[in-house]
Amino acid sequence: MTSRESNRGPGFVDLVETALPGAVTGRNLEALDPWIECPPARLAEVCRWLKTNPHVRFDALECITAVDWFEPDPKKAAKVAWQPHIELVYHLWSTSARVSLVVKVKLPRWKDDVPGSLPEAPSVAGIWRTADWHEREVYDLSGIHFTGHPDLRRILCPEDWEGYPLRRDYVMPLEYHGIRGR
């Protein structure tokens, strides 16, 4: 029985670097969930490689998450060690090799630092069909525009909802179509 831990060590991550030079900009294979980082422009390319490479075939995408690294409180914001950004986290799983891998992508919180203009990442819906709904959810709740997605609409919130609830600076609306919030 192979457990998920068996992919630690250089292994196939070196293979990714050889096949796609410059696509892996960071890695931590000692973390609880081993991860690699890649630039947003090369995400689709890396994902396609990871899915089709015969060495480790990551045929299942388990989850896409966006983490908003932003501290709205200026006092606390002065203490944090990171710059505000959004992190996209892709959890991959190989059903044949029973191995998991995490791909992380860093995005600006707003495209060109214009508040309200959504940061962009390439869609992987053409690679794993799980991504179709997951990207819609991330778009809906965290406000990331996935370029090339076949049908990028809100999925959980109503179509006319404003704002992206999982952003750290989101303000809960006080009223929606005459329904009082709070």
Binding site: S3, D59, A60, E62, T65, V67, V89, D132, L141, Y170
Partner: protein, 402 residues
């Protein structure tokens, strides 16, 4: 006298013009398992396209999770899959424990297996009973709920709640079992074992049931993986994957020493660990019948696991151990863990920043991915088959909408 064209019923029948029509099924349709709305594009009885609309139950539990400590979020996981709340508690508790590097006592470990497998039986009973309702038969629902009631009674004795338990929590469980509980649990199992044959007679081998499910909504292996399907939906398509055996060590170690065989068809046959009816000749691997049947096998498998857990739990001496403090700090870092819930692989992702409140709490819903395949399965099927296909996925909207 010869009939004119207008009088000949055969000619009139073939003259009926059909139009495409949009039909809304739900959000209050009884066979949609909660508030799911399906928009069907139909031509006569044939569905050409189907689009699920979800979100009617959306509460943004993930945002709430960013404002509560890890243990305070446990009740919110109850309300995701409210039919298997024990398993949801376990998923979140294990994900946080993975990040905190916490280990629970041996006794707590066996009690967790016991409780989680009882939860699986309860969930599959609802899945089975409600599936009968979807297909127009009422009695299996009553048979299933009669037995589920007894499980809920046992849960109520253990933790005081019948639906939203919050029993399994970070670092252990909130309380130990009351005296005499194990005996009553064994009595339930003894009484429940012969009932399985009734279920098989009512549904599994029922000629009408087989006609409605065999060969309907066939989901291929590749498609199931591509859409991220999991649990009985994935195993019903013949993919041999069960996280209790194949998952991460923090989860599989819970089942160390337990003997069970994954309920999946291998080389044309299911594991023969108990008497079960033969697969009908019309059934194709990956159809509604197989998804249903995998659930039925898992009920028996879980009963067996519960018996094993009772033995191990009662052999454990020493205390159960205290759960983590309500304000236990979550270390900086992130951890993702999927567990095998009755509906499928439920994933929890927790990001910590050193404070007791997680920076990000994410729930990856199994029903969410399982439902996304419905558009693919229903293309070209009859309207009457739509409830059969949706029901066979055994979705729960609280988990999809979160």
């Amino acid at each position: 006298m010869a009939l004119s064209i207008d009088d000949d019923p055969r000619i009139i029948e073939f003259d009926v013009r059909t139009d495409e029509m949009l039909v809304n099924m739900g959000p209050q349709h009884p066979s949609t398992h909660g508030v799911l709305r399906l928009v069907l594009r139909t031509d006569g009885e044939v569905v050409s396209e189907i689009e699920p609309h979800v979100g009617y139950l959306h509460r943004c539990a993930e945002k709430i999770g960013e404002n509560l400590t890890a243990r305070q979020w446990i009740p919110y996981t109850d309300r995701m899959d409210y039919l298997a709340a024990m398993n949801m508690n376990l998923g979140w508790a294990l994900a946080v424990e993975k990040l905190m590097r916490l280990e629970v006592s041996e006794k707590a470990r066996h009690l967790r297996v016991l409780i989680a497998e009882m939860g699986r039986i309860a969930s599959h009973l609802v899945g089975m009973g409600a599936y009968g309702l979807d297909l127009g038969t009422f009695s299996p629902f009553l048979y299933a709920f009669r037995e589920r009631e007894k499980i809920l009674d046992l849960f109520e004795e253990a933790c005081g709640a019948r639906l939203t338990y919050s029993y399994i929590t970070v670092g252990g469980l909130t309380a130990d079992l009351p005296p005499g509980w194990l005996r009553r649990c064994e009595a339930f199992l003894d009484q429940f074992a012969p009932v399985i044959a009734e279920y098989h007679a009512l549904l599994t081998t029922n000629a009408i049931f087989v006609k409605r499910t065999a060969g309907i909504g066939v989901l291929s292996r590749e498609l199931a993986i591509d859409y991220g399907c999991s649990g009985p939906v994935l195993r019903g398509s013949g993919v041999d994957q069960d996280l209790r055996r194949d998952g991460e060590s923090i989860y599989t170690s819970m089942y160390d020493g337990y003997a069970f065989e994954v309920a999946v068809q291998k080389d044309g046959r299911y594991p023969r660990d108990h008497a079960y009816p033969a697969v009908p000749t019309d059934a194709v691997l990956g159809d509604c019948w197989h998804r249903f049947f995998v659930r039925m096998l898992e009920v028996v498998q879980s009963m067996d696991l519960v018996r094993q857990a009772i033995d191990r739990y009662s052999a454990c001496r020493g205390p159960l151990g205290e759960p983590a403090k309500l304000t236990e700090k979550i270390p900086a870092g992130d951890a993702y863990l999927e567990t095998e819930c009755p509906k499928g692989q439920m994933g929890f992702y927790v990001v910590g920043d050193g404070s007791p409140i997680p920076w990000r709490a994410r729930a990856r819903s199994s029903s969410f991915s399982n439902l996304s395949v419905v558009a693919e399965l229903c293309r070209g099927c009859l309207i009457a088959d739509v409830p059969a296909i949706v029901g066979s996925l055994d979705i729960v909207m609280g988990e999809i909408d979160r």
